[in-house]
């Protein structure tokens, strides 16, 4: 057999795949009539490659039939990250903004890390006297230079109170996240990597200027306002209550909040999996909860709402209907 002819009959060649797929698609819908069955039979016998492709096809169908439909449907049908979009975002940060986030993370010079574990909080005084509070599961890198005071928020949430020292500080104060920068205009504000491809900013005093990595203009956020942004644009974001965020006092405050949202928020402070059954997610609750003992908070839910706390393991907890 010539090389070309051999290639044509490889199991993975285009023509063989196309034919096998076409037979499968037909056989999946209805039983083949006798004439079709005979045709398929002849196709399979035509070459070893055809038979091999058909066996692989049957294998594939069998594998799917053996899967439990409900669990598999949920897992395989889940919302996916767009592979190309992820790759593109990596490329955009790496190539288009060499002086941005990626470069900063490995820039030589004076850097320092602050890091909190899940459920942990930390207050830090920075070299210039500014104050920094780190919420649960947060990582910050310090990049102070002669020109500016820059903090890189690698992940998590921080509250910043810039120094109002005796001598005026000429250097700019900038927070860098993977989505852009927040420039302080003499101020007190919170920055949070929402973990969904966006950063949220809430301002308590004065104002900040937000600049998405790939955005063309800066957006000013005044005291009492908040917004979220991704690498391209800004979004509306609920400012919530005025005053410092409750987490800085170790509290979680909710006011007529959906239980589903409350549980998602509480999950940030607990290692492991904490989820809320959809059947109770629409219940509402209000209260002030202490974050230092999240198990106690869960018990409280069980006492005050028609819900049951299922603890499969300490790291796998579900809030379910009673």
């Amino acid at each position: 057999m010539s090389r070309n002819a051999a290639l044509k009959h490889e199991p993975g060649s285009d023509a063989v795949l196309e034919a096998a797929a076409s037979w499968l698609a037909l056989a999946q819908e209805r039983s083949l009539d006798p004439r079709e069955a005979a045709e398929l039979e002849a196709w399979r016998r035509h070459s070893e490659a055809h038979e091999k492709a058909w066996q692989a096809a049957l294998e594939l169908q069998r594998a799917f039939k053996e899967l439990p439909a409900d669990i598999s449907g949920e897992v395989l049908g889940r919302h996916r990250r767009d592979r190309r979009a992820v790759l593109k975002s990596l490329a955009a940060l790496a190539f288009a903004a060499p002086a941005g986030y990626a470069a900063l993370l490995h820039a030589p010079g004076w850097t320092a890390d602050y890091r909190t574990a899940t459920g942990e909080r930390q207050d830090v005084t920075l070299p210039d006297g500014s104050r920094l509070a780190l919420n649960t599961a947060s990582v910050v890198r310090l990049e102070y230079s002669a020109e500016e005071r820059r903090l890189v928020l690698v992940e998590g949430e921080i509250l910043v109170s810039t120094a109002a020292g005796t001598q005026p500080e000429a250097r700019e104060f900038v927070i860098q996240t993977r989505h852009g920068t927040v420039r302080a205009l003499g101020t007190r504000f919170a920055v949070r990597d929402l973990g969904d491809g966006r950063t949220a900013v809430t301002v308590f005093e004065h104002a900040v200027a937000v600049q998405p990595v790939a955005g063309t203009q800066a957006h000013r956020v005044e005291a009492g306002q908040a917004l979220a942004f991704d690498a391209q644009q800004v979004f509306r974001f609920d400012a919530g209550d005025q005053g410092d965020p409750p987490w800085t006092r170790g509290q979680l405050v909710s006011s007529n909040q959906r239980l589903g949202d409350f549980v998602a928020e509480l999950a940030r402070y607990r290692p492991g999996l904490l989820r809320c059954d959809p059947s109770v997610a629409e219940l509402r609750l209000s209260g002030v909860f202490q974050l230092e003992d999240t198990d106690r908070v869960l018990d409280l839910l069980g006492e005050t709402l028609p819900v049951r706390i299922e603890r499969r393991t300490p790291f796998w907890v579900t809030v379910a209907a009673r």
Binding site: L17, S72, L76, V86, F95
Partner: protein
């Protein structure tokens, strides 16, 4: 004499040079994406394993832009890692929704997760509507006419999608 061993040596030397010059940078690049130093270290290691496999090409043609090259390979691994992590999360969530899952042994769960992971890789390159149609047919056992109604497309389109999905899966399997 001994040219084959020599060229192997040179190949290893080329990989070693790339490793020494860029391993630290690659790790921090990955870590900035993941926030987790352990996983970043693993993925950096995997990236270099891929490069070791290409040492012969590397010896003949040294990399002109080593970091861009490493980023491309590490980027692919990173996307795979994120896919697997999302899959595991969805699996845990699905298990906790299913009362029947409580009766499953740890071993059965592992096997199911691994099977799903393989299926997931097969389905990963399909476009969203094709994947949806395919799952409706394979898992839910719906007929094409029923799928067509639910998706608001013609039966012919459903059949075309099915054929496309089978074709892609088989191409990966064979």
């Amino acid at each position: 004499m001994n040219t084959r061993a020599d060229s192997l040596q040179d190949g290893h030397a080329a990989v070693e040079r790339v490793y020494i010059d860029h391993h630290g940078w690659l790790r921090s690049w990955l870590q900035s994406r993941l926030g987790c130093p352990e996983v970043a270290a693993d993925l950096a290691q995997d990236t270099f394993l891929r490069i070791v496999a290409r040492r012969e090409q590397l010896r003949r043609a040294p990399l002109r832009k080593p970091r861009a090259f490493l980023r491309v390979i590490a980027g692919g691994l990173l996307v795979d890692h994120l896919r697997r992590r999302d899959l595991e999360r969805a699996f845990l969530a699905a298990l906790s929704n299913q009362p029947a899952a409580a009766a499953m042994s740890a071993e059965d769960r592992e096997i199911l997760l691994e099977t799903l992971n393989r299926m997931d890789m097969l389905l990963d390159r399909l476009s969203a509507p094709v994947r949806k149609v395919f799952l409706m047919s394979q898992l839910d056992g719906l007929r094409y006419a029923c799928i067509a109604r639910q998706m608001g497309v013609s039966e012919r389109t459903v059949k075309r999608y099915m054929q496309q999905a089978y074709r892609q899966c088989l191409a990966t399997l064979l």
